[in-house]
Subunit: 225 residues, 2 copies
Amino acid sequence: MTTTITDLSPQAAPLPAAPHGTPGRKAVISRDDIIQAALKLVGPHRSVSTLSLREVAREAGIAPNSFYRQFRDMDELAVALIDLAGRSLRGIIGEARQRATVDRSVVRGSVEAFMEQLRADDKLLHILLREGTVGSPAFKAAVERELSFFEDELREDLIRLAEANGTGLIEPALTAKAITRLVFAMGATAMDLPPEQDAEFTRQLEVMVRMIVVGTQTLSENPSA
Amino acid sequence: MTTTITDLSPQAAPLPAAPHGTPGRKAVISRDDIIQAALKLVGPHRSVSTLSLREVAREAGIAPNSFYRQFRDMDELAVALIDLAGRSLRGIIGEARQRATVDRSVVRGSVEAFMEQLRADDKLLHILLREGTVGSPAFKAAVERELSFFEDELREDLIRLAEANGTGLIEPALTAKAITRLVFAMGATAMDLPPEQDAEFTRQLEVMVRMIVVGTQTLSENPSA
DNA sequence: TGTACATCAGTGAACGCGCGTTCACTGATGTAC
DNA sequence: TGTACATCAGTGAACGCGCGTTCACTGATGTAC
């Protein structure tokens, strides 16, 4: 029925599909049109919180006030972007995790998947990495929510891993949180890194995560300094 | 000679000290006047990168264009703020470290000093914690520079600690970096925390840091998974 | 100590700009007959 | 199938605002005599 392009901005209209070129009037505006326009503007050197409503509207090819038909304000758009980013990245890391279970190490697999995505210049990932500390309360809360999803999944993994290997594990939730926060903080700085340092950076990040994992194992056997 | 109030905004002028109240003209404007004004505006919910030149000038009680006599632009002011923040916090942590050497644990001492400062609502600390991921290149570079100072000092401490205790230590620089980044990332989220969760948060942060320290020790003895 | 004068720190007014938001509109979409 | 009509998604114009930056000024500071 509809021509089914659902993800990209120049969207086919339901029935008459921009009929005989009435200029100055967009046939149908979807939330996704606006989200895609915002994503085009965001990048390693441009954060969501600096986007203006008019700028996004311009990029989407719509009148500034048409924005209001889809979102209450820029804050609502920002939250939508963060939710989207979180869902996307969780999917990617989830796959990496499953690959890792049959393959080598969960740590290595996940860190590599994370870095691959970072290298791929994924706009959604950029958003999650950088926007956590600025912006409105709603904004920060949305990022916190996504991070805690990661932590939950990672915690389950750590528990499973510990049981499988017969190793100990103190405070799995805390361990998961430490790893998540460290990886995201490091990832944020990695965005500005020249590409030739990527390999070394990945190695460093892996060692860091391993320190935490090994630390929690050791502490579970011998809770001293 | 001069009346020596050097840190606060309503500054005594060198000789005639705002003579007979000429209104509308400030006797002398110093860089510090402007820095102090900016600090008044910054807080847990207001980041440096959202300050406007006119806003800072208003707070400092000067004409907007007088700003230019002291700073080229807001970017230069932001970098000055970050340098100041870094110097201040390093001083505080440095003291905590020395206390800790004679006292108990370096980890505990430093984490506690950090959290004390955070609780004290130190504007300078807020800046360092949150501004690292947004703002201009010069801005980010300034934060990176301050963080790397911390890492250097911490690395020296870790080496000294390992020698004193006879414990191992792989990649001290990496260990220091992991701790620094984790603590700062966690600290950024702690600013928005209700005060009654401070104690629990401090405990968690301490455990996290200890995981890393213990992890690097264990890995130095047995570099496996 | 007084006086004339150069310097330049601080100023008020004005500029053009992009912003968020509002308003009444218009014309395409879909429905009732 | 064709026509009349209600709905409402998208619009262009306009608003008032705060912004960064410029300009020519003025009057206090400090110096030379």
